[in-house]
């Protein structure tokens, strides 16, 4: 890396940049310590960072100018110098580029995954919105179809939907509220369990409720109340204290019949032993939202005795639905009368 010069010449002033540096502002330089053979490396490294070839070449040029000779390098040397320069620049930049590109590979993989997660989430939201829209479309088409065939079938469907929780309903009803006991964090047995809520809900159905919701989540025909870890889940939605269980029905009847169910004793036991507070109240107006979107589990093509001829002019004229001639084989059970549907508000 440096030209070989006998080290006792190290301190010759012409070669030592510290001495020949014209811009060195250090008027007071501390005296150089004595040099011996063992300090060659340190001296070479610290005091001669500049290749002494520069100084030598400078002296040579000065001498040649003094002598009047023009230093014209032969053509081949110059071309070789340029080629060498190009090669060196190329090699250095290649090394730098390849070293730089290896570092962020891990980062780019992570970024790719993050982008993918975001795009999948967006697609998820779009699909859910389209599910909602399509089910609303299906509902409106069904209504339009039913309005042609008469009201008995529509009424039956409405009863079924109220019972299975896919129709929002409102009306007077009965409310049971459960609170966790004191110190519920430290003592898990003082917390309300999913079995307690299930018992209350069963008691309400047994007392004649028409629609039940827990903390706003409507219970449908396929709802499950269970616990996962510390949380109570209704249909995959976590609930938290306090637990408000609403039931729509005749408030007086519900209150009286609920007190006669077995769950009433259980609630007293819970209060005495675990401090789980339960309270009941009646309400003139409860509004329960619809349960989660129903998924089609069974579908059957209608069977007809006579050939179906869809006569568009005739359909609005036939008031009776469910009779043969329209070809619809809807649920034929009798519409139960006076079951408290009078209380449920529906159009």
């Amino acid at each position: 890396m440096t030209e070989r010069e006998p080290h006792h010449v190290t301190h010759s002033h012409a070669a030592d940049p510290a001495f020949t540096d014209p811009a060195s502002g250090n008027a007071t330089q501390r005296p150089k310590p004595p040099v011996d053979a063992s300090m060659t490396l340190l001296n070479e490294v610290m005091h001669r960072p500049l290749d002494p070839g520069y100084a030598t070449a400078a002296r040579r040029k000065a001498r040649e100018e003094a002598l009047g000779l023009k230093p014209l390098a032969p053509r081949t040397t110059r071309i070789a110098a340029i080629v060498l320069a190009i090669v060196l620049g190329f090699v250095t930049v290649t090394a730098v580029v390849s070293l730089r590109s290896r570092a962020p590979l891990g980062q780019s993989a992570r970024n790719t995954l993050i982008e993918e997660i975001k795009s999948r989430n967006t697609r998820n939201d779009a699909l859910e919105a389209s599910i909602l829209e399509l089910s609303q479309q299906a509902d409106s088409l069904q209504e339009a179809l039913l309005s042609h065939t008469g009201t008995a079938l529509a009424a039956q469907i409405e009863v079924d939907q109220t019972r299975n929780g896919t129709l929002p309903v409102s009306g007077p009803g009965f409310v049971v509220t459960l609170h966790d006991g004191a110190d519920a964090e430290e003592q898990p047995e003082n917390r309300v369990q999913d079995t307690d809520i299930r018992a209350v809900v069963s008691g309400l159905w047994g007392a004649g409720a028409e629609a039940v919701a827990v903390n706003g989540k409507r219970l449908t025909a396929t709802s499950a109340i269970r616990s996962a870890g510390d949380a109570i889940l209704v249909d995959l939605t976590g609930l938290s204290d306090p637990y408000v269980i609403e039931a729509i029905g005749n408030p007086r009847t519900l209150e009286v019949r609920f007190a006669q169910q077995a769950v009433a004793n259980q609630l007293t036991l819970l209060r005495d032993r675990y401090g789980i507070d339960s309270s009941t109240s009646t309400s003139d107006k409860l509004e329960l939202a619809a349960g989660t979107t129903r998924s089609l589990l069974n579908a059957k093509l209608p069977k007809t005795e006579e050939k179906v001829s869809v006569d568009r002019q005739e359909i609005p004229n036939t008031p009776a639905a469910g009779t043969s001639g329209t070809g619809l084989n809807g649920p034929r059970s009798n519409t139960p009368a006076g079951t408290g549907l009078n209380d449920a508000n529906h159009d």
Binding site: L50, Y54, L99
Partner: protein, 110 residues
Amino acid sequence: MIPVIGLVIGVAAGLILEPTVPVYLQPYLPIAVVAALDALFGGLRALLDGIFDDRVFLVSFLSNVIVAGLIVFLGDQLGVGSQLSTGVVVVLGIRIFSNAAAIRRHIFKA
């Protein structure tokens, strides 16, 4: 000055073409870059000192890179690769710092 233009042309060619470095050369890339940096700073200081010579610059550049690579290769063969490369990097780093300090004195007169 002409070789410096050649250097710039080589740099541009490297950036545009972006060749891939063969695998057996990849361990020597970092030390080669540090050695090139040392030669560059030496050349810059010589330029500011007024004693720049293009031939000396090119030769020092080339010899720095080759000798640094050879030392690392020798170290790998002897089994002391990381220690030797640490030593080389330390020395080159000291030289770079000294030259940079001189350049700073030139530029800021401070």
